[in-house]
Amino acid sequence: MKLRLRDLTAQFALLPTWAIVVFAYIGTIAWSIRISLSSSRILPSDDFVGLKSYYRLFSTDRWIISVQNVAIFGVIFIIGALVIGFLLAVMLDQRIKGESLFRTIFLYPYAMSFVVTGLAWQWILNPSLGLQQMMHNLGWESFTFDWLARGDRAIYLVAFAGIWQASGLVMAILLAGLRGIDEDLWKAARIDGIPTWRVYLHIVIPLLAGMFATALVLLATAVVKVYDLVVAMTGGGPGVSTEVPAKFVIDYLFNRQNIALATAASTVMFIAVLVVLTPLLYHQYIIGRRRAAA
């Protein structure tokens, strides 16, 4: 093709990215896989002990619980943030007075360090300090809300706090999407006499697919990397009942000084993400080819 020279410029423009991809991403991923096969403790060492850390990983109760928790957390968090974010966006899209105020209120949790907002939630949800106590003081003695103290329920509260933190961002993304929809669509729908909820369900949501996808990727990375939320809300407790994989990695990386085990855990997480993403990437690739061919 004639365009080869210009392609070269494009190639050059991507050089910094190539450098980052090769050194900072592929390099560090390869490094961490290598370390996971060694007996490293605080400092990286270059011996080879095979899959020892992986055996230990999968025989550790805490890791198994972490994996289960991240699945529960992920499902509730993603669905919750998408649904609430969407509802907020639709409501805000109805020519609301003081929209900017509402929007800022829904977005502020995203701007604040969760170390402290998490503490505020912890107080509110603590059975003897917060909501439950307040209701008792008001005379509603039978009111109970002790999920934070219950090993089988606390993870739901972590997901709940996550939804609180993330749904504002989802709202902003989807609101932007809603604003981009051609108003003729609404006119047409009205002329045809289609009820509003059906327009949203069958026309608007499919039109927002791209925005939902962007929001989904952002939420999904947050699920895999969830750490602050758990540390601030429960510290992994009661017991180890709200532990998550990223916290496992970070605990062993820093405090427990076993970077071989930490990198083994992160490698397993990496493989899991790879398995989920490959079909999606392949799909993207096909679309890309079609676009090029068009």
């Binding site: 990215t17 190539w18 980052i20 390099g27 900017s100 829904f106 932007a176 791209g210 993207q284």
Partner: protein
């Protein structure tokens, strides 16, 4: 370029329409009234401002107000706690209004809280935070924009590979990268310096920035680009004269994401910035994250709200472009 200008014309028309018909505050809503012809009921989007109060609208406001109250619950706790003296907090009535409100904790947090041997509050790190923030935001967005542009229009060799690696990279807990990155940056002499921390933020911002710009540019009509190429536009000419002028909205979105992320970062600042350039969040952490020392919750809360003011201010001033921004690109994609 006739064809090219023709075809962006329709696209730009789309933008301007969505821009003016997407009022963000009530104050600007009037501008769209001319477009919203009468007869619409209030429950439908793009209707005129309602003159009557209908049950449906009451429902909407009720939903929003209840949701807002729920969202503000922790903020309420933080504000009332920051206004109480510690003697009151120790008694344990954490949900009640302060008996004798005082702003002492705010003054303490800003200028007198101990963050080590020194007790000068969190204000010490303010300038450092800006010194890190501004170049990091500019660099990561520039790189993300060029990437998105190159990947979506030029499809250079290895484009899918780059994209796949970056997307995967976005999912790894970044703490795992610390050791190898420290070794690499130390090898090239950037460890413990301002350029070092800027490089680190650029590296970690790259996946999301690339994704954002790539998806946005993928929504632009390819014919437009093809026409520009046939007219002899080079890589950079097309970028600067055609693509960049259309990127205003997405640039603002990217700015908001990066400002929030980089401003709030603590771990990278701590490990890569060097002692002279430590951001405000490192000081915030030293105030807030006490383990066996005496905890001052009122100061913690005040310090956290103070630190969040910069991203909140950015949301505030860029809100209308933020919302308008994502609008044009994505829905078409």
């Amino acid at each position: 370029m006739t064809e090219a200008t023709d075809s962006p014309g329709s696209w730009a028309g789309g933008t301007s329409k969505s821009a003016t018909s997407a009022p963000v505050d009530a104050a600007t809503a009037g501008a769209a009234d001319s477009r919203a012809k009468g007869g619409l009921r209030g429950t439908e989007p793009w209707g005129p401002k309602p003159t009557r109060i209908t049950p449906a609208r009451i429902g909407i406001y009720a939903f929003l107000v209840v949701a807002a109250l729920f969202f503000l619950m922790p903020f309420y706790v933080m504000v009332i706690t920051s206004l109480k003296p510690m003697s009151e907090i120790r008694l344990g009535n954490l949900m009640s209004l302060p008996d004798a409100p005082t702003v002492e904790a705010w003054v303490e947090a800003w200028a007198h809280a101990c963050t080590g041997v020194d007790c000068n509050g969190i204000q010490v790190g303010l300038m450092n935070s800006f010194k890190i923030l501004i170049p990091s935001v500019i660099l990561s967005i520039t790189l993300g924009a060029v990437n998105g542009y190159a990947l979506s229009f030029w499809r250079p060799w290895g484009a899918n590979f780059i994209f796949a690696v970056l997307l995967l990279g976005a999912f790894i807990p970044y703490q795992v990268y610390l050791y190898p990155l420290v070794m690499m940056l130390s090898y090239i002499g950037l460890y413990n310096s301002l350029p070092g921390i800027v490089a680190v933020h650029t590296i970690f911002g790259l996946p999301i920035m690339t994704l954002l710009f790539r998806n946005y540019y993928a929504g632009l009509p390819i014919d437009l680009f093809k026409a520009a190429r046939i007219d002899g536009g080079s890589f950079w000419t097309i970028f600067f004269y055609l693509i960049l002028p259309m990127s205003g909205p997405i640039l603002v979105v990217a700015t908001i994401l990066q400002v929030t992320g980089i401003w709030n970062d603590f771990l990278f600042g701590l490990i890569f910035a060097g002692r002279e350039s430590q951001p405000m969040t490192v000081l915030l952490n030293n105030v807030v994250n006490v383990t066996t020392g005496v905890r001052e919750y009122n100061v913690n809360m005040a310090a956290t709200i103070l630190t969040a003011l910069v991203p909140l201010f950015v949301y505030f001033i860029s809100g209308r472009w933020f919302v308008r921004g994502i609008a044009s690109g994505a829905v078409k994609g």
